[in-house]
Amino acid sequence: MSETKNREPLLQVKNLEVTFGERNHKFVAVNNVSFDIYKGETFGLVGESGSGKTTIGRAIISINPISGGEIIYKGQRISGKISKELDKELTREIQMIFQDPMASLNERAKVDYIVSEGLYNGLKHFTEAERKEEVENALTDVGLLPEFASRFPHEFSGGQRQRIGIARALIMKPDFIIADEPISALDVSIRAQVLNLLSELQEKRGLTYLFIAHDLSVVRFISDRIAVIRMGVLVEMAETEQLFAHPLHPYTRALLSAIPLPDPVAEKKKKLIVYDPDMHDYSVDKPVWCEIEPGHFVLANESEQADYRKLLE
């Protein structure tokens, strides 16, 4: 735990709020979310569809404008109005990997262009030879052959396309990568390959990941810390093993119980927990985001906090 405290946060999200629509049609997608991501770690963000997990990722790279709170990257505020130079710098340093490799690549462009598109908009000017070399390096790094550069996306399988998506992010030499459900659309056997590639790249280049997913079993494998989000509100955050050993919030437990086990006997014995938000009595005693043990945060009111503390003992 002490290790975590000494580490330097790369990205800080403070009281983030994102809303869509206006006045009567206002919808709060992300409500008062705060977390830190430390340098070199993988931070898992888990929730159902519609929970706002992707919105947070998109808010960080300012695709979605935020309506409250702030985002701090390397000690510098990057939300709201920022200078043009900083914006360009951020485009290089923060990259995103998208969910569906079938939809996220330009069907009409060759791999060569898809991968190097970011370089055209960059700060530095590249000559044609340099650009070609960069593309070659990026493709080799993700385990593809350099001659694939002259092909079109439809010539590749799902796993290879996702590798192209990763190469496109890597070529900018980013420090921070937002991976938005990078393996949900892939086969189980291909998933393993892409997960291995991501952790290999992290080791080699000291990357920091924000890993967004709905499947806790995948996130467990790759993340150092996990935050669980529901309806735009964080409900629990802890180190991975801590979260799996002592899940406190009932929603986290429901998510854990939904993981399919590759084991018929255990699976038949398992009881599926369905989360019912009415189980909390928040009419008088309002819930707060509190640190229940070092590094383990949970959303709970006073009486629930007392229960959770008892559980942890």
Partner: protein, 346 residues
């Protein structure tokens, strides 16, 4: 204990004509489907699992053809069916299908009620108010609250999980004997996935269905399947009872599939992943199709296609490893661990 066979496939071969090139999608599958069982067919994309079940409903694309074998259902050979008229006596009425993606398998321009009633009117001879009442009843069965009002709504007013429930409602509306679920939960969240799987299980008991699940994820089927068939390159390489396949897998491909599940991964170590790519089915596959990707393949694997070896009366696998002359190879540690954990538990 003899079980009643409801559908019997013998030596089925399916080929596709792709601009003059012939693709061998299914390479001689024999399979008996027993009444009221639930069978899971597991394999990677491109292994031919969807093509295989599509032949039961006459849903092959125009360039696909059954070149050999027969599909016996209710005394008829489905592989000889030619016209749509023939198929309409089977499709939907006797064998129904739930498609993968609930976002695209409903008509966005028609109400939910219309789409369910369409199936009921066609196959059950109920009309007007009677059909609508039947539709409401079925929507209640699949767990959609306030069904009487919701049948007037359009698909976009439903969430992904709810849409999949509607698709299931349409499939069971005609009271089929066999329900085929083609990756019913791949497009859904984990929590919704668990709910849909338990719904399918309940419906199976209630309507006495025989179900076939198709999936690429072995983890999903542990709870729902009685038997599991593992498909690779257009062939069933291993088939057995659920427990047998999970606790005593024999084919190297089944080992590989099980080992690559992230649930079994150990943090800090690389997940097991299958090297290489599935074989090119345009050309004739020599020997065991999985041999080139199997680091421990035997010499004979590259020469001769293995026959089925019986491990128990219900469990067989197509690998030379089971031949008495083969060297003894133990399954990877990670799978043995799974086995031990469970046997210690029971």
């Amino acid at each position: 204990m003899e079980q009643e066979v409801i559908l019997s496939v013998k030596d089925l071969e399916v080929k596709f004509n792709l601009r003059g090139k012939i693709l061998n999608a299914i390479r001689g599958i024999s399979l008996d489907l027993y009444k009221s069982e639930s069978l899971a067919i597991v394999g990677e994309s491109g292994s031919g699992k969807s093509v295989f079940v599509k032949t039961f409903m006459g849903l092959l694309d125009a360039n696909g053809m059954i070149t050999n074998g027969e599909i016996l259902y209710d005394g008829q050979d489905l592989s000889k069916f030619k016209t749509e008229k023939d198929w309409l006596t089977i499709r939907g009425r006797k064998i129904a299908m739930v498609m993968q993606d609930p976002m695209t398998s409903l008509n966005p321009l028609k109400t939910i009620g219309f789409q369910i009633c369409e199936a009921i009117e066609l196959h059950q001879n109920l009309h007007g108010a009677a059909a609508e009442a039947a539709a409401v009843e079925i929507l209640n069965d699949v767990g959609i609250p306030d069904a009487a009002n919701r049948i007037k709504q359009y698909p976009h007013e439903f969430s992904g999980g709810m849409r999949q429930r509607v698709v299931i409602a349409i499939a069971v509306a005609c009271k089929p004997n066999i329900l085929i679920c083609d990756e019913p939960t791949t497009a859904l969240d984990v929590t919704i996935q668990a709910q849909i799987l338990s719904l399918l299980k309940n419906l199976k008991d209630k309507y006495d269905l025989t179900t076939i699940y198709i999936t690429h994820d072995l983890g999903v089927v542990a709870n729902v399947a009685d038997r599991i068939a593992v498909m690779y390159a257009g062939d069933i390489v291993e088939i057995g009872k659920c427990e047998e396949v999970f606790y005593n897998p024999r084919h190297p491909y089944t080992w590989a599939l099980l080992s690559s599940l992230p649930q079994l991964g150990i943090k800090g170590e690389n997940l097991f992943s299958i090297k290489g790519a599935p074989p090119n089915l345009f050309s004739h596959v020599e020997g065991d199709a999985f041999a080139p990707r199997n680091p421990r393949a035997l010499k004979i694997d590259f020469v001769k296609r293995p026959p089925y070896f019986e491990i128990s009366p219900t469990h067989k696998a197509r690998t030379w490893l089971l031949d008495p002359r083969a060297p003894k190879l133990d399954p990877p540690e990670i799978i043995q661990k799974l086995h031990q954990e469970v046997s210690g538990d029971v």
